[in-house]
């Protein structure tokens, strides 16, 4: 997909390391997951110090279901990003499926029939993406950008300015119910079940190996007799299915559907996958890492929410975390290799940039003070 200026450098490095003994590759691989575990511990400790409500089982149980739609869509997204592609349409597909179910429900169709029809529509949406990408050979970013608008538009078309509500209790169980009178929400159990299946497929089957190999070198994989086009078609279809499943869970959790449900969630999904160590250029990643990063993001957002920080301001922390997760390792690498000869010109330009950013924030707070004081 979109590769950085240094994509070729990092690619060649990873090729060398694959020739190296297997154990070193494995240890490199494991390090990121341990880093996430460490971060999760830090977040838990900091949050328990800051607020007494953090380690409340009931609170944790309620908040965990808030992230399951993202989680369900993240699973196939890991597959897609590992092959070096992307799917921007997932959140729109989710909205489209949920709205379609809402429309059918408003028309008086049985809720289970409506849900099945929504799953079918979402899967068809995924198939359309897959067809255009694998057969018509359009770039994934372009296709899913188009369907991002198209599917969201269909959602608005289905429901207009209406909302669908009044779902029967048997259905809302999918979003609100708990498993066997425990505190584990049904949606969390569903996510964990799906995560295990997706993880096994990715790491224990030849299909999973093909995904990595497509991400490393699509042409070579194709010439090795792997049905690349078919595999791409399958993963986009899966993505559509999981997006519509997430749509059903969302509708069940809210107990209602509006056409703008889940707008912008695709970026949260991609953030979770990438923070989990899935390489945006393809070829690297693990389901465990993605799951851990979802947990990390969830705990961070929950903790900040308890401290009354607005959702959008929380985005600053998540965005910084995403950038730093890639920036710090690469900074360490470049400092350790070029640390000996500091040249004055780059030190000067670094100082200049720092000055500019400091000035920016001085202006930021100065210009804001007068207006905020009047509120």
């Amino acid at each position: 997909m979109i590769s950085s200026s240094s994509a070729s450098d990092t690619k060649s490095v990873s090729l060398i390391s694959e020739n190296a003994p297997k154990s070193s590759f494995l240890s490199r691989f494991l390090r990121w997951e341990w880093m996430l575990v460490g971060l999760i511990f830090i977040v838990v400790i900091v949050n328990t110090q800051l607020t007494p409500y953090f380690l409340d089982a009931r609170n944790l149980s309620r908040t965990s279901s808030d992230f399951m739609e993202i989680g369900l869509m993240m699973l196939p997204m890991v597959f897609i990003i590992i092959t070096g592609n992307i799917d921007l349409s997932v959140a729109s597909n989710m909205g489209m499926s949920a709205s379609f179910m809402g429309l059918l429900h408003n028309m008086g169709v049985n809720i289970w029939v409506a849900a099945a029809a929504a799953l079918l529509l979402g899967t068809l949406g995924g198939m359309l993406n897959g067809y255009l990408i694998s057969r018509v050979k359009l770039p994934a970013l372009v296709v899913t950008l188009g369907t991002y608008a198209f599917y969201r538009g269909l959602a608005y078309g289905f429901l207009g300015d209406q909302a669908a509500r009044g779902y029967p209790e048997a259905f809302t169980y999918f979003g609100q119910g708990k498993v066997f009178q425990t505190l584990v929400p049904f949606s969390v159990a569903l996510f964990l079940f799906m995560a295990v299946i997706f993880g096994l497929v990715l790491h224990r089957t030849s299909f999973g190996r093909y995904l990595f190999s497509i991400g490393n070198n699509e042409n070579a994989t194709n010439y090795s007799g792997v049905p690349v086009a078919k595999i791409k078609f399958i993963i986009y279809t899966l993505s559509g299915f999981m997006a519509s499943l997430a749509g059903l869970v969302l509708a069940a959790r809210f107990g209602s559907t509006r056409p703008d449900n889940g707008t912008g969630l695709e970026l949260a999904v991609i953030t979770a996958a990438v923070l989990g160590g899935v390489d945006i250029n393809g070829g690297k990643g693990s389901m465990l890492g993605a799951g851990l990063s979802l947990l990390l993001i969830g705990l961070m957002r929950f903790g900040m929410g308890l401290m009354n920080i607005q959702g959008q301001v929380q985005g600053i922390a998540i965005g910084l975390l995403l950038i730093l997760s890639i920036l710090i390792p690469s900074m360490v690498r470049s400092l350790s290799s070029a640390g000996k000869n500091i040249n004055w010109r780059s030190a000067f330009s670094a100082f200049l940039f720092l000055l500019v950013f400091v000035l920016f924030f001085v202006f930021f707070f100065w210009s804001r003070a007068a207006v905020i004081a009047n509120i």
Partner: protein, 337 residues
């Protein structure tokens, strides 16, 4: 990119020769699509073909053109800037605050302030991408949420409304001292400058070189990191300019100003024939891409498609445009062989 000039066609009939010449242009696909669309819309709604309506379309796409051109330069280097919408949102809010506090300030200062603030945000993107080796899509995805978060933090959720802005600032985008709205003239100027920059300056050609082959560019004496930094800086500056025009045109700055706009700018570039894998893209193509998006939006209202279905129709038409462009391109490649 230039493969069409190298192959001389064998003897062929006059008609297919004509078709071949037409189709050689990279912009042929989208031009044909626009003409077809205009024809169909005019049949349904004759008021489409009026000067007033075209003025309307131009006014509506001016901001899109400015930011899409910036996006194009970024995409040509094989990058992407998803943070443009949040940069617009943040700069719009900051400029609106300053203008509200200093209503007597000359309007040109607001414009310069917007571009300066945008340049800081853009250079932050450029810095983490070039010095930090963060892939562009990750870096700008991160700053997309960071800058948007800063908007909320900055304004504490308040809006700047029309009555808080001075009249001369509101007329910045809409005034017509030169016959056309200022905003349209600014967009045309930006397009001309970017066209000259990309085609007739050394740095401009280097942008293509970096996108075509990032590994070979340094061997040709191109400072790759500088070029990549530059395109993100330019993206920030133009987003800053767009932000000032945005506040002036819509007479308000909201916490969600321009949110989702980044995908429109990518759509305009891509529909205009800019290749997402870098190295390919022209200013006329992007202008046509933005024009197509503008015409689609305008005509859907004219032929009375329910507003609720308009987004779906837009998405579908974008898909059709991209698919037909691909179809024509494969035909061209086949003819050239």
């Amino acid at each position: 990119m230039q493969n069409s000039t190298s192959a001389t066609p064998p003897v062929r009939s006059y008609l297919s020769n004509l078709v071949w010449t037409l189709v050689r242009f990279r912009e042929a696909g989208i031009s044909i699509f626009i003409l077809l669309l205009m024809f169909v819309v005019t049949l349904r709604a004759p008021s489409f073909l009026t000067t007033d309506n075209f003025n309307d379309i131009l006014l509506n796409i001016s901001i899109l053109v400015i930011v899409a051109l910036a996006q194009t330069m970024v995409i040509i280097t094989h990058g992407i800037d998803l943070s443009v919408s949040s940069m617009i949102g943040l700069v719009a809010m900051m400029v609106a605050f300053v203008v509200k506090q200093n209503p007597e300030m000359p309007v040109i200062f607001a414009v310069l302030l917007g571009m300066a603030l945008g340049s800081v945000l853009g250079s932050f993107n450029g810095l983490i991408i070039t010095r930090g080796n963060v892939p562009p899509i990750i870096a700008t995805l991160g700053t997309l949420s960071i800058y948007r978060g800063l908007v909320f933090f900055y304004s504490q959720g308040t809006w700047i409304n029309s009555f808080e802005l001075p009249d001369n600032f509101k007329m910045l985008s809409k005034g017509t001292p030169l016959g056309l709205p200022n905003m349209v003239i600014i967009a045309v100027l930006v397009a001309l400058v970017v066209y000259y920059f990309l085609n007739h300056t050394r740095t401009g050609r280097d942008i293509y070189a970096v996108g075509t082959n990032p590994d070979a560019a340094p061997f040709a004496g191109i400072r790759k990191d500088r070029i990549i930094f530059l395109v993100y800086l330019l993206s920030g500056i133009l987003a800053g300019l767009a932000a000032v025009l945005w506040v002036s045109r819509f007479e308000s700055a909201q916490t969600n100003t321009a949110s989702g706009f980044e995908l429109q700018t990518v759509a305009a570039s891509v529909v205009g024939g800019v290749s997402i894998s870098g190295g390919v893209g022209t200013v006329p193509g992007v202008l046509l891409g933005a024009l197509l998006l503008g015409i689609i939006q305008n005509s859907l209202t004219l032929i009375r498609i329910s507003p609720f279905w308009q987004l779906a129709a837009q998405g579908l038409l974008i898909l059709i445009a991209v698919i037909s462009d691909k179809w024509i391109l494969t035909r061209v490649e086949r003819t050239n062989k």
